[in-house]
């Protein structure tokens, strides 16, 4: 069932076995898993079924600290489906080594291993509608329209990422949740605080508020906070009526260790074989029926020997001034393959008006070449971030429309991050030169003495702010994602990641949410 908290007919008080706050990738996965069971599940969602400016503004906040600065409202979406309403759909699991203790990476190591996640990764595939192929399948090589480059495997390994074929989880699961007799989705209702017992060892209810001022609550046996990598920390910090530092924050870890996947341009490449360099990694040239993409990844040997974080690089055919007709052609191709052509006549008109540019592009495409002749090749890097207690989410001074303190993000990279960018760029440049495929010039920020993080931006993969740890002093949730010291409050989402590898986070978010749903089902039945 789906209810709107703004409707007068909707009650303000609810009782449930389980209350999930947030209907993004994590919250929807839990609700979907428990749909059809005998448990009563309430999902509290801040937004409605469509994005809304006023609700989205609740995500605004202040970004301070060293560059890069983040736009907090633009990097997440606040409506049913959450940020999957515009995510890229890229999926890959974390490596076993990403989750292990690495002596050269301070604060590394998960309390669970990759093997623990394996069965949940398998179950996450249909939820995200991924192709059936295994990620490490060597047979994939023969399916690629262009062969990835054979780098020295001691330096760079080839892995394959996949794309979700139906990435808008709100659209995919709406009907199922609407039909499920045991699930109620409450739209336009914001969690403002978890109310606890006096010892702050148990949550009694989730206090709700609408933008129209309406108040309500959900009482439940168990609660799951699933509001994204930044908001999870903010909402624990805001739940401070009993426990002044915020819930789960006795050791001051809530909001610390904020991580993203720093990404940016490392340099430019000159090559006598530009197509050979870029075609295997060009998503426009991939087989659309098989959204699987080769990635060039820093090998474990290189990481260990050079004491770096994990990361990947990509030579990218940078297209300047792409003709209007070609953009229209691409939109049309994309829409047709998705089975939903939009604005068909206007797109055909744009293509026809620009035939001079479109015809040679089609010719290039027919020969398996990029549609637009790249004006230059950029070397891009996408990296793991070092866990850093000083990189943190706190409460700011500004107040939002619900009367709550906005978030303040101080995102900080470390010398280990910079070292990783340098090693990745230098070793990749050396490999390209060794193979006779091109020469790299580092961007000024990455040269000796350059501004250490200037070229890096975020990927909107917010992680780490309620990190998982066995030791309550070292994190916020335990290996089951239960908040240390609170017997019925759990956290779902990438805020529990102690480290994030370079892997897109949502596949792991969904796997962990499936595991949590299983745990909760066991506890509740």
């Amino acid at each position: 069932m789906i209810l709107d908290f703004r409707a007068a007919a909707t009650p303000a008080e609810f009782h449930a076995d389980l209350c999930v706050i947030g209907a993004g990738a994590a919250g929807i996965t839990i609700a979907h898993t428990l749909a059809g069971t005998g448990l009563s599940v309430y999902v509290v969602e801040s937004g409605g079924l469509e994005p809304d400016g006023e609700i989205q503004a609740l995500y605004e906040g202040q970004s301070v600290g060293q560059p890069p600065i983040m736009d907090l409202a633009a990097s997440r979406l606040r409506y049913f489906g959450g940020t999957t309403g515009h995510w890229g759909g890229g999926c890959i699991p974390l490596d076993a080594s990403d989750m292990a203790v690495r002596p050269w990476v301070p604060h590394s190591g998960w309390p669970i291993t990759r093997a623990t996640l394996e069965p949940y990764y398998d179950r996450a595939r249909p939820i995200l509608d991924l192709p059936d192929h295994r990620f490490g399948d060597p047979g994939l090589l023969s399916r690629m329209p262009h062969r990835p480059i054979g780098f020295d495997p001691a330096l760079f390994t080839s892995l394959y990422s996949m794309s979700s074929r139906q990435p808008r989880l709100g659209e995919v699961f709406r009907a199922q949740l609407e039909r499920a007799a045991n699930v109620t989705v409450l739209l336009n209702a914001n969690l403002v605080e978890f109310d606890t017992n006096e010892a702050a060892t148990s949550v009694r209810q989730a206090s709700l508020r609408g933008l129209d001022g309406r108040k309500g609550s959900v009482r439940a046996r168990y609660f799951v906070l699933a509001c994204g990598g930044i908001e999870n920390a903010r909402l624990l910090l805001l739940s401070n009526s009993v426990c002044k530092p915020g819930l789960g924050n006795d050791c001051g870890n809530v909001g610390r260790f904020f991580m993203d996947h720093p990404s940016g341009q490392l340099g430019g490449v000159v090559s006598e074989h530009p197509d050979r360099l870029t075609e295997a990694y060009d998503r426009h040239l991939s087989d659309r029926t098989l959204p699987i993409y080769p990635e060039i990844v820093l090998s474990e040997t290189l990481q260990r020997q050079q004491q770096t974080l994990n990361g990947r690089v990509r030579p990218d055919d940078y297209e300047e001034n792409v003709a209007d007709g070609i953009t229209a052609l691409r939109t049309l191709r994309h829409d047709l393959s998705a089975g939903a052509p939009s604005h068909l006549p206007s797109q055909i008109l744009r293509i026809a008006a620009d035939l001079g540019d479109v015809a040679p592009s089609l010719f290039r495409l027919m020969r398996g070449r990029p549609a637009v002749v790249g004006h230059r090749i950029e070397l891009l890097g996408f990296f793991e971030q070092a866990p850093n207690p000083d990189s943190r989410v706190t409460l700011g001074d500004r107040i939002d429309a619900l009367g709550q303190r906005e978030v303040r993000l101080d995102w900080r990279l470390t010398e280990l991050d910079r070292h990783t960018y340098e090693v990745a760029a230098m070793r990749f440049a050396a490999e390209l030169a060794r193979l006779g495929l091109g020469r790299v010039q580092l961007d000024p920020w990455l040269r000796p003495g350059g501004n250490p993080y200037e070229g890096m931006g975020g990927a909107a993969h917010h992680m780490g702010t309620t990190r998982m740890s066995d030791d309550p002093a070292a994190g916020v949730v335990d290996a089951d994602c239960r908040v240390h010291g609170i017997n019925n409050l759990y956290v779902a989402g990438s805020s529990v990641f102690p480290t994030g590898g370079w892997a897109f986070p949502t596949f792991t978010i969904v796997a962990l949410a499936l595991r949590l749903a299983d745990r909760l089902q066991q506890r509740l039945t």
């Binding site: 890069p68 990097s75 580092l442 931006g457």
Partner: protein, 123 residues
């Protein structure tokens, strides 16, 4: 937030620019093969299409490295350019495989190439 990919970034150099940067023979293997045998000093100079540019890169290397320990010290007598080219190619491949590189004006050169540029600057 700067979403990725597509950060604003300064234009990367064109191929012509790196060729003009001086180390054409080093960057594009094969050029040196066309040189006729010469005394080594001349042969090193002959490795570069644009000697002044190579020399300025070499000066950068010398400024960064007190002792360039040039690998290809002029040997007594002369060495054919073809032999130098073959040695350079071997050393360059070994340097790149080992990640033994130097950054000059942002370009990543093998140690051997960088030392050759330094030699050109000294010659």
């Amino acid at each position: 937030m700067r979403f990725f990919p597509r950060p604003d970034a300064p234009a990367a150099p064109g191929r012509r620019q790196i060729l003009a940067a001086g180390a054409a023979a080093v960057l594009v293997p094969g050029r040196a093969a066309r040189q006729s045998p010469r005394p080594i000093r001349n042969a090193i100079q002959a490795l570069f299409d644009d000697l002044p540019a190579a020399q300025s890169l070499g000066r950068l290397y010398l400024a960064q490295n007190r002792d360039p320990a040039p690998l290809l010290r002029p040997a007594p007598g002369s060495e054919p350019a073809g032999a130098i080219r073959a040695r350079v190619a071997r050393c360059r491949a070994r340097d790149f495989a080992a990640g033994d590189t130097a950054v000059l004006d942002g370009w990543i050169f093998s140690r051997t190439e960088a030392r050759l540029l330094a030699l050109a600057a000294l010659s």
